[in-house]
C-alpha cells in the first residue's frame, strides 16, 4: 500500500511490502531498499546489507515522531497527495508560532495594518513573541481575546484578501 508523508518541505510517497516475517521492502520513488527488521515496543531496528538503523517512534494526532540514531524527525501523514497545498499556510492568516498566552492584542476587526506591524504579543515559558502582519491590509477577523491560551498554529488574526 502506498502512503504519503510530508517531511519538512518534501512529500514522499512510499510503498512497503513484507517479504518474509523478518524482511520488508520499501520503495521510495525509484529506490528500492530491503531491510531486515526487529521490533520491541516503540523501538525498531532495521538493517540493510551493510548498515544498521535504530529507531524509536511515537505519534500524537497527525504527527509522527521518529528518533533515528540520535536525531528526531517529525512527519505528517497525508491522506491524499492533492491535500498538500491546503497544509501550506495561507498568507492572509496570522497564526501562533508557539503555544502560549495572548498578552497584548493591538488590532480589532476593520483596522488597517502596515506590513510588519505588531498585531499581537504571545507569551509562553516567560518568553514574549511579537506577531507581525505579513503584509499591509485590513483586519478581517480577530479570533482571540487578551489572556487567552492558544495552541501552536492556532489562527489568531485574519487579514482580508488583498
Amino acid at each position: 500500500m502506498k502512503r504519503h508523508f510530508l517531511y519538512g518541505e518534501n512529500l514522499h510517497s512510499v510503498t512497503f511490502q513484507r517479504r518474509s516475517p523478518s524482511d520488508v521492502e520499501i520503495i521510495v520513488g525509484e529506490d528500492k531498499t530491503l531491510f531486515s527488521v526487529s521490533q520491541n515496543c516503540q523501538r525498531i531496528n532495521l538493517a540493510s546489507l551493510d548498515k544498521r538503523f535504530r529507531a524509536v517512534m511515537a505519534r500524537s494526532k497527525d504527527k509522527i515522531y521518529v528518533w533515528l540514531d540520535g536525531r528526531v524527525h517529525e512527519l505528517v501523514e497525508i491522506e491524499e497527495t492533492n491535500n498538500v497545498a491546503s497544509l501550506h499556510s495561507n498568507p492572509d492568516d496570522i497564526r501562533a508560532p508557539m503555544p502560549g498566552i495572548i498578552i497584548k492584542l493591538n488590532v480589532k476587526q476593520g483596522d488597517t495594518v502596515n506590513k510588519d506591524q505588531i498585531v499581537a504579543v504571545l507569551e509562553a515559558m516567560k518568553m514574549e513573541h511579537n506577531l507581525r502582519a505579513p503584509r499591509a491590509g485590513v483586519v478581517g477577523a480577530v479570533d482571540v481575546k487578551i489572556s487567552q491560551t492558544v495552541s501552536a498554529d492556532a489562527l489568531l488574526v485574519h487579514l482580508e484578501k488583498a
Binding site: M1, R3, F5, Y7, G8, N10, H12, V14, F16, V24, I26, V28, D31, T33, F35, V37, Q42, I44, L46, S48, K51, F53, A55, V56, M57, A58, R59, S60, K61, D62, I64, Y65, V66, W67, L68, D69, G70, R71, V72, H73, L75, E77, P97, M98, P99, G100, I101, I103, I118, V121, E123, A124, M125, K126, M127, E128, H129, N130, T149, A152
Partner: protein, 500 residues
C-alpha cells in the same frame, strides 16, 4: 540542623534539591500548581502541598501561599531553587519572619547584589572592573534614548532584578529603543515582579566566565572555580563547562580573588555566582546571582562537592565544609540544557506531552531531570526540562561523552535542542575552544536538522509507514500513542488537590 525542608520550586531543580536533602536525612515538602499535579518533583517529595492555579503569580510566585504551606506542614527551612522567588528579598525576609531558615543569602545582601546598579558601584569601590557604560534604572524612553547615545550603540537593556536572558534586549538603533524598553520591562515584571531595567555598553564577542562562591556566617569565603557559559542563544546559556579553556592559572586567581572581594564586601552568605565578561585577558564584572545557578552541577562534578549539601549546612549555621586550599579540581565537566524549544525557529518554546522518554545512564554522565514519560510540559514556566552533565578527565573526552549522551537521550513529543547541541559539540571551533557569547549566532543561526538521504531516508519512511499502517487500527481516541493504552482510554483523571 534542618529537619524538614520545603522546596519552593518545581522541575529539575526541585527534584535535585530534594534528592540531596533526602540523602542527608532531611524530610522534604514539595509545592505544586494545577499544571504540576503529576510532576516528578511532587512524587519525589515526602509531602506535597497544592498551592494554586497554574499561572506562576497565583502559585509559585505567591509568597503568602508558600509561607503558609511551609508553616502548616512543619518545615523548618525553605529552599528557593533558582528563578521564581529565589532572588526576591521580600521572600527571604518573609521566610525569616515566619521563624524559618531561608536557604540562601540574607535579604540585605540579596537586595544589594540583586540590584545590578548597586552591585556595580560596589564592584568599582572594591577595585573590580565593570563593563564600560552608564547605569540607568527605571528610565523613561527619552532618558533611555539619551543615555544610549552617550554610551554609543549597540547597548544592552537588562532587567535589574534578574538574569537568564529574560527582559534582555540588544539595541543597535535609536528607533528601536522604545519598543525594546517596553518589552524588556514587561518580561522583567513577569519574570521577577520588578520592571526596573538598566543600560550598558554591549561588548562584542566576549566570553562569559563566572565564579562559584560560597560564604558562611563565620566570615569564611571560598570560590569553587569558574564556569564558562559562553554558548548562549537568546542571551541565555545553553552549554556550560568548567574549567574554562581561556583562563591561565594567574587569571583564574585574579578573577577568583575579585569574586571573593565583592561577595565579602556585600556581607553575602550561602551560594552565589559572580559573573564576568572576559575580553581577551581583560575581565569585567557583570553581576552577582544570589542563588544556586542552573549550571552548578559542572562545578559539583569537577570539585566532587555537593553544593546543595553546602547550602543546607551553611543555612543551618555551620562552617563551610572546606577551606579554599582543600577544594580540589579534577578533570572537565560540561552541561547541556534540554529546553522545550525549537532550535529551527528561533528557539521558540515548544510544549506538548512527552510521548517517549529514555534518558541514558552512563558512567560520568549525570542527568538532572524534572520530567518523565507522559508528562505534559506546561506553558507557564521556565522551558528547562532537564540537564545533561558529563565529566571526564579532559575536555576532549568530556565532549565525546556528551555527544554520546545526547545521541542516546530519546525524547519524543516536544521539540528540544538535543540534535542541535550534538552539532554544536561536533563543531571544530568548539573543539578548539574558540568560543564567545556570539558563537551560536555566528555558526548556527541557520541550523536545521539534516534530512537523511538514501538508505537512512528509506529506514525513516519505513518506520513511519509501518507505524501508520498499524496505528490506523489501534491508535486511541485521542490519536496519541501513550505507553499504556488501557489507562489512556479512561480519559483524563485528575487528582483533586490532595495533600501530604
Amino acid at each position: 540542623m534542618i529537619r524538614k525542608l520545603l522546596v519552593a520550586n518545581r522541575g529539575e531543580i526541585a527534584v535535585r534539591v530534594m534528592r540531596s536533602a533526602r540523602a542527608l536525612g532531611i524530610r522534604t515538602i514539595a509545592i505544586y500548581s494545577d499544571a504540576d499535579r503529576d510532576a516528578l518533583h511532587v512524587e519525589i517529595a515526602d509531602e506535597a502541598v497544592h498551592i494554586g492555579p497554574s499561572p506562576a503569580h497565583e502559585s509559585y510566585l505567591n509568597i503568602e501561599k508558600v509561607i503558609a504551606a511551609a508553616r502548616e506542614h512543619g518545615a523548618d527551612a525553605v529552599h528557593p531553587g533558582y528563578g521564581f522567588l529565589s532572588e526576591n528579598p521580600k521572600f527571604s525576609n518573609a521566610v525569616k519572619l515566619a521563624g524559618l531558615i531561608f536557604v540562601g543569602p540574607p535579604a540585605e545582601a540579596m537586595g544589594l547584589l540583586g540590584d545590578k546598579i548597586a552591585s556595580r558601584e560596589l564592584a568599582l569601590k572594591y577595585n573590580v572592573p565593570v563593563t564600560p557604560g552608564a547605569l540607568l534604572p527605571h528610565a523613561s524612553v527619552e532618558q533611555a534614548c539619551e543615555e544610549s547615545q552617550k554610551i554609543g550603540f549597540p547597548v544592552l537593556i537588562k532587567a535589574a532584578a534578574g538574569g537568564g536572558g529574560k527582559g534582555m534586549r540588544v539595541v543597535r538603533k535609536l528607533e528601536d529603543i522604545e519598543q525594546s524598553l517596553e518589552a524588556a520591562r514587561r518580561e522583567a515584571k513577569s519574570a521577577f515582579g520588578d520592571d526596573a531595567v538598566y543600560l550598558e555598553k554591549y561588548i562584542d564577542n566576549p566570553r562569559h566566565i563566572e565564579f562559584q562562591v560560597f560564604c558562611d556566617q563565620h566570615g569564611n569565603v571560598v570560590h569553587l572555580g569558574e564556569r564558562e557559559c559562553s554558548i548562549q542563544r537568546r542571551h541565555q546559556k545553553i552549554i556550560e563547562e568548567s574549567p574554562s579553556i581561556a583562563l591561565s592559572p594567574e587569571l583564574r586567581k585574579e578573577m577568583g580573588d575579585a569574586a571573593i572581594r565583592i561577595v565579602k564586601a556585600a556581607g553575602y552568605r550561602n551560594a552565589g555566582t559572580v559573573e564576568f565578561l572576559l575580553d581577551g585577558e581583560k575581565f569585567y564584572f557583570l553581576e552577582v546571582n544570589a542563588r544556586l545557578q542552573v549550571e552548578h552541577p559542572v562545578t559539583e562534578m569537577v570539585t566532587g562537592e555537593d553544593l546543595v549539601a553546602w547550602q543546607l549546612a551553611v543555612a543551618a549555621g555551620e562552617k563551610l565544609p572546606k577551606a579554599q586550599d582543600e577544594i580540589q579540581f579534577r578533570g572537565h565537566a560540561i552541561e547541556c540544557r534540554v529546553y522545550a524549544e525549537d532550535p529551527t525557529s528561533g528557539f521558540l518554546p515548544s510544549t506538548g506531552t512527552i510521548l517517549k522518554l529514555d534518558e541514558p545512564h552512563a558512567p560520568g554522565v549525570r542527568i538532572d531531570s524534572g520530567i518523565r514519560e507522559g508528562f505534559e510540559v506546561p506553558i507557564f514556566y521556565d522551558p528547562i526540562l532537564s540537564k545533561v552533565i558529563c565529566w571526564a578527565d579532559n575536555r576532549e573526552h568530556a565532549i565525546r561523552r556528551m555527544r554520546d549522551a545526547l545521541k542516546h537521550y530519546v525524547l519524543l513529543g516536544v521539540r528540544t535542542p538535543l540534535g542541535y547541541m550534538q552539532d554544536v559539540l561536533a563543531h571544530p571551533e568548539f573543539a578548539k575552544g574558540n568560543i564567545s557569547t556570539h558563537f551560536l549566532a555566528q555558526h548556527f543561526s541557520d541550523w536545521s536538522e539534516k534530512q537523511p538521504t538514501g538508505e537512512a531516508l528509506a529506514a525513516l519512511l519505513s518506520v513511519a509507514h509501518e507505524f501508520c499502517r498499524v496505528a490506523h487500527k489501534n491508535v486511541e481516541a485521542n490519536g496519541t500513542t501513550k505507553p499504556s493504552s488501557p489507562w489512556t482510554s479512561l480519559g483524563d483523571w485528575r487528582m483533586a488537590g490532595a495533600g501530604s
